[in-house]
């Protein structure tokens, strides 16, 4: 039986176990004079039955599926005669794909050595057996679990505790998934990064001021020795993000203050969703807007006042990005400002403070951690944004603080390094991983710093 069919079947069994255990617990309780004579509510007996039915079966299923392929492969390979035994990894995968093609019927057995053809049929046999074993085993575990739980539906057995414990473990696993994913991402990047630093010196990378990642493909190629200095990229990211935050933080924060403290309910009900709509616009559309409307406008304006401006500028990308991240600041700030207890407002107003004094002196300091959270979210969004920058700020890695020039950012370079047909062993492609790693480290440091600032200045209520 296919895994896809087995999964719903196990769930159906779990539901069945739930119903049966529920009915049995009521039946057991009836002669005693009602469910209050049970140690736990019927729900808990039923939940325990469905957990014991479903969880072990699902775990067995998951383990089987995870190791099935490897085990079968091992068996097939060991069945091969010694002269066909693969010598290298590449050869092994070649033989294996031959075998599986024979097994799948894509390759006529006449074209391959008889041992391979034999192995192909063995592979198919093993696969079929595995399917059957898997189905039988999983269903057996499910039924046994349910039966055990069923037998443990008794007035003096407490099911509540085991249900609580199981739920707690399930919640823990869910929480662990997020953390483990982060760790996994770091590890997937870290090895490539180490390989990169085998080719390019760490100090050249961190303190280099020139970025032109064209490496020689042939030994005699000229004009492409490649320089990997990350400084221009990080200053570009910094410049654009700073411009974006300069737009988003004041506008977002002040609109949040207006919405939460001054606006009538009706205005709030219309304006808040409208503001949040900004976050829903695809970044490509913002990119159009930046490249076709804002950037030429800025260039014309700059020329009108006698400044030299590129048609792709950091300012254009930053401004549009700032508009895009307004809702991150405003929506979260609005929520935390609303969460400040009313009695603090009342206390301040009753002292004769005006609304804006109350805002500045009492509500803002109390809401600071949440506001900081919104700003951080907006900042990470700005640092990670790629599309607007590609379209409006260009690809030129200029080391400049002039917002009218075109710059590029870390994420944009990562994309350009990795698109197209690339080998993952040249310094050019590995540089993308190193940049990703650096970005990760820098944003992590920013987060830690922001957390420290918040701890210092926040005023904790209740």
């Amino acid at each position: 039986m296919q895994t896809g069919n087995l999964l719903p079947l196990v769930l159906a069994l779990a539901v069945l176990a739930y119903g049966l255990a529920y009915m049995r617990s009521r039946a057991v309780a009836a002669p005693l004079g009602g469910i209050r004579h049970l140690k736990s509510l019927p729900f808990y007996y039923a939940a325990r039955a469905s957990l014991w039915c479903g969880l072990p079966a699902l775990i067995v299923l998951a383990l089987w599926v995870a190791f099935e392929g490897k085990v079968i492969q091992g068996l097939v390979v060991s069945s091969l005669p010694s002269d066909l035994m693969p010598e290298s990894e590449g050869q092994a995968s070649l033989i294996l794909s031959q075998i599986s093609n024979v097994a799948a019927g894509k390759l006529d057995p006449q074209f391959v050595p008889p041992e391979i053809a034999q192995a192909g049929s063995l592979l198919e046999n093993l696969r079929n057996q595995s399917q059957t074993f898997k189905a039988v085993l999983v269903l057996l575990v499910a039924v046994l679990g349910a039966a055990f739980a069923w037998s443990r539906v008794a007035p003096n057995i407490n099911a509540r505790e085991s249900v609580e414990t199981t739920l707690r473990r399930i919640f823990f696993v869910c929480a662990a998934v997020a953390v483990l994913t982060t760790v996994g991402i770091v590890f997937s990047v870290i090895f490539e990064t180490i390989r990169f630093f085998g080719m390019v010196s760490f100090w050249d990378f961190v303190f280099g001021t020139s970025w032109s990642p064209q490496t020689a493909l042939r030994a005699d190629q000229v004009g492409a020795d490649g320089s990997f200095g990350m400084i221009p990229l990080f200053t570009g990211t910094l410049l654009i993000s700073a411009i974006a935050l300069l737009v988003a933080v004041p506008v977002g924060l002040l609109s949040a203050i207006y919405l939460s403290e001054y606006a009538s309910k009706r205005i709030r009900a219309t304006v808040k969703p409208a503001l949040e709509l900004l976050a829903g616009v695809p970044t490509v559309v913002y990119g159009f807007f930046a490249a076709l409307t804002v950037a030429p406008f800025i260039r014309d304006l700059a020329e009108a006042i006698g400044l030299e401006a590129s048609s792709q500028s950091a300012l254009a990308a930053g401004l549009v990005m700032g508009i895009m991240i307004i809702p991150f600041v405003s929506s979260l700030s609005d929520d935390v400002i609303n969460a400040v207890p009313q009695n603090l407002r009342d206390g301040s107003l009753a002292m004769g403070a005006t609304q804006s004094e109350t805002m500045k002196n009492v509500i803002f300091p109390a809401a600071l951690p949440g506001i900081m959270g919104g700003i951080l979210l907006a900042a990470s969004r700005a640092i990670g944004e790629t599309m607007i920058v590609v379209m409006a700020a260009g690809l030129a890695a200029n080391l400049t603080a002039n917002p009218l020039e075109s710059v590029t950012t870390v994420t944009v370079q990562i994309v350009t390094l990795l698109v197209g047909d690339q080998e993952f062993d040249s310094a050019k492609t590995l540089a993308a991983f190193a940049l990703g790693m650096m970005l990760f480290v820098v944003t992590l440091l920013l987060n830690v710093l922001a957390l420290k600032i918040v701890r210092k200045y926040r005023e904790q209520y209740d």
Binding site: D346, G347, Y461
Partner: protein, 295 residues
Amino acid sequence: MTNLKHPITASAEVKSESKPTVDQEVRTEEGIAYGKTVGKPYSDNAKFTLRDVNVFYSDVQAIKNISLDIAKNEVISFIGPSGCGKSTFLRCLNRMNDSIDICSVQGRLELDGVDIYQSKRDVVELRARVGMVFQKPNPFPKSIYDNVAYGPRIHGLANRKSELDDIVESSLKKAGLWKEVKDRLATPGTGLSGGQQQRLCIARAIAVSPEVVLMDEPCSALDPIATARIEELISELSQSYTIVIVTHSMQQAARVSHRTAYFHLGHLVEVNDTDKVFTTPEHELTESYITGRFG
């Protein structure tokens, strides 16, 4: 008893209700004559002059034609069952109801003869003169010093740091908190105990030298010892301030107040000297309430 005559003024607006007059037959609700209060609601030495006050929450009338004087330097307590409107009425006195959109206040409310609802927006001066202490202690999440200095800073009462220090010290002394906190003025006010927090709020309120202090059930979140401390404080403060206190505890009303006002379903049923209210109430509703038949 000369001032007992009902002074209906022409300026009183009564929305969607026929205006009661003395001669006409008055509307009654559960045995309460509409807009009629027994006892001694008026004073010759009035700080607050309140006439025909009606308060509506949207369409629901929370305060029904109440007229009352609050005298200078008296302690008056508002008692009555839950939902009778005593807190709503208290909050009219410093216009704290302004922040509730659906609330509208009608009638004549004067502080020292000046209408407090006159100016549309500016309540800063009124609230500087009429301070308030809330049911739940609500110190700001700032240091003890900054809590007390909050009002003086807003109203520009101190020109120098030393003046501010003096105000903070004297306010905390008046609130009976100085000895306990003088060595930790920089620690957060929220770290104090409940009773200390409430005294901090009182210190904060009196730091701007108000003329009136409104207290909305100031002891309901406190234990008996902290309550006794606050009551003692109220008696001391009554030397220099007019105090209006809403309370659920009749013993507290009897202990601290000169006059007691009994509210019922938005009506002001009876106002009189405290000992009179608690020994010989004139209205049967008052009598039922203070003898514990309901409430």
